[in-house]
């Protein structure tokens, strides 16, 4: 009797576990960066948008994989002839994950909060351009901009423009509540974050995934091992380019090298010596060798940039030849600027593209007579000391948002420490120019202006290297905006 009981029990257990598992479609995704908050409207960390924008949170508009604006929580909209007044017709019957209905009040609340005095919204300027916003009826919102804005519909599709509910806004940092196709389930800090399908979503019947699990794995070797062992179904932002060849050669995996909006820059603190002078900044531009950095840090898997605009964009100008690599000339220029031999503090956030580039930048600047002290710091420390307190000479960071030339018009409080009235005017005219061709011409001018002022060391465009297990489908092959939407993803 005892000898037969065990297999029978095992069979029953196996059945018990197998039945729900077969019916549930789940995906396990690797992520390199773990955010400290889950509220994209108050924290600029890219991982929040990668996980939650479009999945948990939704916005009035959305952007498709080609970069075109599409309706989302706003079914349709009308723009007045002067380009300043927008009337949004909202979808009816949408609900937040806590059951409360989505109405015009939530939109007005979210936008008012984002442009408010003590708002910490990463794209606060977008909302401060709104002169007036009002609820017309339960499902209609009208807003007026100070000036026409060519990027407005795109900007309000981004994560920082997510529509939140007034009742749950306070707890969004740890327990996000949105209107999206997935609901937040649990966040085990340092390990994983789980989403489950929202059965009440408008589009629920077309969403295949039931459970989404993000695993935070910062170490590339561990990430690679987890993929190989089948613990992960995909790693959309794979951090180790040197391992890509290995996955490309393996029939169990598909590799996607998507272009992104992420410009990687050797950001200079324009507000303090030595990089408060044009000479020193230009000297630095001559000292760095992009090709060597791309080869050394990215194993050749990135495109060099000479200014602050993605090479796949419609208004791109190639300015990579503006400051040819020349260590001797750089040394001479540093000497003329009176800073030769100075010690420069390079504080590097914990991302492989940054730490690896840093070592090469250190050697290249060393060859031009500068002493670089590399400090590898934690993400929280970076946000505090570099981004907020501006206590650095140089740092290496990818700016992953689209249309982020606006960063240079953020004034002296932004960590660039760059404040240039002429550029602010230029950016204002880019924003307000609604004619595409005319705007592209202005964007080209802006790229040239920034390259000429050598505001930063412009390095390369960050590739989104995604590794996907065979059978995982529906991920975007380009990244025109910082989303990784999962509603069309299927797993076989």
């Amino acid at each position: 009797m005892r000898t037969t009981a065990a297999p029978a029990l095992l069979a029953a257990l196996a059945l018990a576990f197998a039945a729900p598992a077969a019916a549930q479609m789940r995906i396990s995704l690797g992520l390199q960066q773990e955010p400290t908050s889950l509220d994209p409207t108050s924290d600029a960390t890219a991982a929040i948008n990668v996980m939650l924008a479009q999945n948990v949170y939704e916005s009035l508009t959305t952007v498709d994989s080609s970069g075109a604006v599409q309706p989302q929580l706003a079914e349709s909209w009308e723009i007045s002839d002067d380009g300043r007044t927008y009337t949004f017709n909202l979808v009816q019957g949408a609900t937040f994950h806590d059951g409360s209905p989505f109405t015009a009040d939530a939109v007005v609340f979210s936008f008012e909060r984002a442009r408010g005095e003590d708002s910490t919204n990463p794209r606060k300027a977008t909302f401060q351009a709104i002169e007036e916003i009002s609820k017309v009826d339960e499902h209609t919102v009208e807003l007026t901009l100070g000036n026409p804005d060519a990027f407005f519909l795109f900007d309000i599709a981004q994560g920082p423009a997510s529509i939140l509910h007034p009742d749950t806004v306070e707890s969004n940092a740890s327990r996000p509540v949105g209107t999206g196709p997935f609901m937040f389930d649990a966040w085990t800090r340092g390990d994983r974050l789980r989403l489950v399908k929202n059965p009440d979503h408008r589009n629920a019947e077309n969403v295949a995934l039931e459970i989404v699990e993000y695993r935070f794995i910062s170490d590339p070797a561990a990430a690679s091992a987890a993929l190989m062992a089948g613990e992960l179904d995909a790693f959309p932002g794979f951090p180790a380019p040197e391992l890509i060849a290995q996955f490309e050669a393996d029939p169990r995996f598909t590799v996607i090298n998507a272009s992104t909006e992420g410009e990687v820059i050797l950001a200079l603190n324009n507000a303090r010596a030595p990089f408060d002078t044009l000479e020193a900044r230009r000297a630095l531009s001559h000292a760095i060798d992009r090709e060597e950095i791309i080869e050394g840090a990215m194993y050749g898997l990135a495109t060099p940039i000479g200014s602050f605009y993605p090479p796949h964009g419609p208004a791109y100008v190639d300015l990579t030849g503006m400051y040819p690599h020349d260590p001797d000339m750089a040394r001479q220029m540093f000497e003329e600027a009176g800073v030769l031999g100075d010690t420069l503090l390079l504080r590097v956030p914990p991302f492989p593209y940054a730490t690896r580039s840093a070592e090469i930048v250190q050697a290249q600047l060393g060859a031009a007579g500068m002493d670089v002290r590399v400090e590898n710091v934690e993400w929280g420390f970076w946000l505090e000391e570099v981004y907020t307190n501006k206590n650095f000479d140089m740092t290496i960071i990818a700016h992953t948002s689209p249309n982020d030339l606006s960063n240079f018009a953020r004034g002296p409080d932004y960590f660039y420490g760059y404040d240039d009235a002429a550029f602010n005017d230029l950016w204002a005219s880019i924003r307000t120019e609604v004619d595409d061709e005319a705007r592209f011409a202005l964007i080209r001018e802006a790229q040239e202006y920034l390259a000429d002022a050598a505001v930063h060391g412009f390095l390369f465009q960050l590739p989104a290297l995604g590794v996907f297990r065979e059978g995982v489908e529906g991920f975007w092959e380009s990244q025109p905006i910082l989303y990784t939407p999962l509603s069309e993803v299927t797993v076989r």
């Binding site: 170490d219 590339p220 070797a221 690679s224 180790a240 040197e242 391992l243 060849a245 290995q246 060597e292 080869e295 050394g296 840093a358 070592e359 090469i360 250190q362 050697a363 060393g366 002290r373 590399v374 400090e375 590898n376």
Partner: protein, 275 residues
């Protein structure tokens, strides 16, 4: 053959001489500049120019290993000296004064034993920023209780000897006795302990550097070479194997030497060998 020349002693001495020799040599000569990058010639195979090839940034591996050996030896030496001198002093003091003071010192040493060195290193690097000196301080700190305990144990035995009683009868003070009679007699176990601690310090330095808390780039270290080689295991396994072998050789050398020295100086073992 001299019965003291055990295989342990010979092998240990050879390995130690090799590692220390290479570290010393790197002060005046390395085949190349260890920090010189040549990215177009990375992952180079061993050749006449680069004896063990080049790493992921095209730097000469031999030169890096040599400078890393120097860094490792420097950290271990300073850390063991610092930890050792403070520990020995505390041990002697505890033994000389006895009573509640001895208890206090030993209980504090117990707490020191229980305190994880890594945590201490992370704390230090949070305050001062990561550097080689953080590694030195952290390793020195974990050495203090080890030496305090060894010294006090040995010293307590010496204090019961007749010649110490004679010195006391002659009116010598406790500190003078510690200096003239106790210290020379505890030297042997302390030196043995120092050799073993040296091996542990090398390993600790490698671990801290592996975590990015030790030597900062461009200054090479075996631990950091290992951590950088981690993702390249399938492409270029030699990048992990060379520093791994170096750590092994250094740690094994000092451990064997320490063991052999202990065997030589342990009176019980000496007696059994004579019997």
């Amino acid at each position: 053959m001299n019965r003291h020349l055990t295989p342990n002693l010979i092998l240990g001495a050879i390995l130690v001489a090799l590692v220390v020799g290479v570290a010393g040599l790197s002060l005046i000569w390395t085949p190349h500049d260890h920090a010189l990058m040549n990215i177009r010639e990375r992952f180079g195979a061993p050749s006449d120019v680069h004896w063990l090839g080049t790493d992921q940034l095209g730097r000469d591996i031999v030169s890096q290993l040599m400078v890393a050996a120097r860094n490792s030896m420097t950290v271990a030496l300073i850390a063991v000296l610092m930890g050792g001198s403070i520990g020995v002093a505390l041990g002697l003091l505890a033994s000389a004064l006895g009573g509640w003071f001895e208890d206090l010192i030993m209980r504090v040493a117990d707490i020191g034993f229980a305190f994880p060195a890594l945590l201490f290193a992370i704390m230090l690097s949070a305050v001062f920023g990561p550097s080689l000196w953080v590694a030195v301080l952290a390793i020195a700190f974990i050495n203090i209780p080890v030496f305090a305990r060894v010294t006090r144990g040995a010293a307590n035995v010496i204090w019961t000897r007749d010649y110490v009683a004679a010195a006391r009868a002659a009116g010598q003070g406790r500190f003078a006795i510690s200096r003239d009679h106790i210290l020379p007699n505890v030297a042997a176990p302390v030196i043995v302990q120092a050799t073993i601690e040296f091996a542990i310090a090398i390993l600790a330095e490698a671990a801290l550097s592996y975590l990015g808390l030790g030597a900062q780039p461009p200054s090479p270290s075996w631990g950091r070479m290992l951590s950088e080689a981690q993702t390249l295991m399938f492409m270029a396994p030699q990048l992990a194997i060379y520093p791994g072998l170096c750590i092994m050789a250094a740690v094994l050398g000092f451990s064997l030497l320490g063991d052999a020295l202990r065997d030589l100086t342990d009176p019980r073992l000496t007696r059994s060998r004579q019997a």
